[in-house]
Symmetry: C2
Subunit: 481 residues, 2 copies
Amino acid sequence: MIKNKTEQAKQITKKSKDLRKWYQDVILKAELADYAPVKGCMVIRPYGYALWEKIQAFLDTLIKAHGVQNAYFPLFIPESFLNREKEHVAGFAPQTAIVTEAGGEKLKEKLVIRPTSETVMYEMYKKWVRSWRDLPIMINQWNNVVRWEKRTYLFLRTSEFLWQEGHCAHATYEESLETVMWALQTYKKVYNELLSLYGIAGVKSESEKFAGAAKTFSFEILMPDGRALQGGTSHDLGQNFSRAFHWTVQNKDRRNLYPWQNSWGLSTRSIGGLVMAGGDDNGLVLPPQIAPIQVIIIPIFKTESQDKVLGFAEKVKESLQNFHVEVDLREGETAGFKFNKWELKGVPLRVEIGEQEIKAGAATLVRRDNFVKEKVNLAELSSRVHKILEIMQKEIFERHQKFTEEHTHLIDSYLEFQDIMKKERGFLRAFWCEKSECEDKIKEETRATARCLELDAKEETGKCIYCGKDAKHRWLFAQAY
Amino acid sequence: MIKNKTEQAKQITKKSKDLRKWYQDVILKAELADYAPVKGCMVIRPYGYALWEKIQAFLDTLIKAHGVQNAYFPLFIPESFLNREKEHVAGFAPQTAIVTEAGGEKLKEKLVIRPTSETVMYEMYKKWVRSWRDLPIMINQWNNVVRWEKRTYLFLRTSEFLWQEGHCAHATYEESLETVMWALQTYKKVYNELLSLYGIAGVKSESEKFAGAAKTFSFEILMPDGRALQGGTSHDLGQNFSRAFHWTVQNKDRRNLYPWQNSWGLSTRSIGGLVMAGGDDNGLVLPPQIAPIQVIIIPIFKTESQDKVLGFAEKVKESLQNFHVEVDLREGETAGFKFNKWELKGVPLRVEIGEQEIKAGAATLVRRDNFVKEKVNLAELSSRVHKILEIMQKEIFERHQKFTEEHTHLIDSYLEFQDIMKKERGFLRAFWCEKSECEDKIKEETRATARCLELDAKEETGKCIYCGKDAKHRWLFAQAY
């Protein structure tokens, strides 16, 4: 049963060689997830689910601090509900899964498995909220949704996925927009502070906005292959849904108003971004804040020194109780095999404990992100580990920011645009006239789409990269995941 | 807009008059839940969902401390999977909801929405675990399941409900049984310590066990109408599923073994039990540990004293930061209306703040469960509130224990059995020969079923209450919810 280093190393494709294959290998071998028996679906295994629990805890705290309350709405949406908002149904109907039989009978009205919950939630809001006193209503739910896919791309594209969907309604447009922007900034926080990922926030073009929204804002993250991942979206729904649902509320002045609404979601897709953006040929690299195991202690011993080393390892573990720490006591595996196993799983810090360490009253630390090694006295171990984890969290973010900036280009000629999209891709800042014909052509010819107009983009004078007509803004283009 | 006390009080049926109507009124008016647009389904509103979040936090901590890890398995189960364990499919098939269309096409194989996840989980366990080294595998998931119902009984019977389902597999039967009993004791803890509900744990009869289990254990709780609610179940699955799935694992001795499995679940039904067992004519009574708001401060003022009273209320709130505390600042409602509103919502402790209290540098406290009133100096407020909440948690449990014991009867004649079941019902301890014919007849004639054989039941010599033949145990009978 003893496996050696080479055997383990062989198990994953090199990241530099084939990103897609590496990504799949890492997720399967690090036991983050697996393919489910039903096509298009996945199983999130405990190590992967622990990442989701960390994201939930971080984000849920921010959501509640903002006064949004959690609730639960049904999985089933009557087909007629989905039809009420025209753009909404057009956007989602082709991807729905439909229940036609239940309890041994054919159903009179088909039930759609929620692809998102606007319609079923707003039907209830309408029933509950009739007076301005009960506005704003701010509700979030953590649940599963279904948008049918035939091929699974683990975490990034699955028929069923987990997410949170926040749905607020306000008396004024300004208040609603404030919530839209708060949600967007909150997602940025999740990525920057928890997942150590840099990204760019902005507003979507007409063609890329959410089905039924007035405006969609998103947070875009650059992946190692120069493609962009949409990390979370926040939708200004205007009064589109309140009007479609004939939901009015009596205002202070006793006049009726249609509430201004917004919805915003972040999903298990974020884990896909975390895995793909980080990591190297040896596997995952998890930022310390999100790592389910932050420190792995590996005892190295011969039979005669076993008791002594294991005793010392236990002592080291006790001194690191402030962290998520584990000792690898598994039998039948060499130290080298264990090093590889935990590197594959992306544990930020490895602590090696052997006879030398015992003699020195110290532990050898090895960083997962850059393999820098140092020996630390037991007395200083906890504070040094704290410091290193803090530095790693920051440096992983900075590396991703640097990578993104190095792959962000100011482009003024379509030839250059095409050239970059053929080679390294990346974020391309280019003038665009905002007409869908140009957007379609650009996509057809280069695979790039307008990802967003950056939040702080200034109005400038320029010419559309494609048609040469007047353009006011440089949009952020990239090929999307 | 000003409503008075009478108007509010009228909104709910008296508990003593009509329990079922009272239960429905309380859940709707206290905004715990609402009926969903789809028949048989419900919406869990923020105040109700906060109860579920507390149950989750309490139970999840215990689950993790036992070494069980959370994960997520798909909503969809191929129809053929459900068919693999004969009793399992026979038990669940009549209640399933089925997806036949997805992504605009008719599906080749119908997909069942999980009524429980044994089959889809064990297919994966079989793939992941091939060696004894990887046993036990102990996984839990928090999710939604669907068992079709035509009529909704809020929280107690809904087509979709939320729960956790734990699924462990072990190398030996003894280890598996240990987990089964651990889960049962853990559910008892949730009810006793968090929900302040007394109950009885035991093993189910053959006819009442889980479809596919070797044995089912449950925790039974007596409701005010003398009917029993099954509060959680833990199933010893034996090797039924590992055999049905042809899942073998290589043991230390290199022989193959079929793992011994168990599964256990606790659902949002527990909230139904909490609501029904507690509460009075004024509405909910929440034990302090589960209450989303533990202390509600109600400022009482005339226009001229408003600023002073609100300022003092804020000060009182600050001194109670160790608790879930809120000040009711809502305009357009009288103090009496507010008293009723928060009584309806079951907030354990009301703090009244008026000019008298300011003068005395004190606050008036009113307990929700017995309306006992006391004035407490600001300096002692926090420690006194702590003490009162502790006492309430204990006394609510003791009252329910006393109620249960007073309605538990040792019965030795079938006439008496029938008589009690016609009148007050309750738990009936009676000898039963363990034959299903007697059980069926008893149910038909009295509506009572064998709820369980209590864990500590001694073997005795007796005669079956129905047929008079030899019986070894007194079983616990009751009419089930």
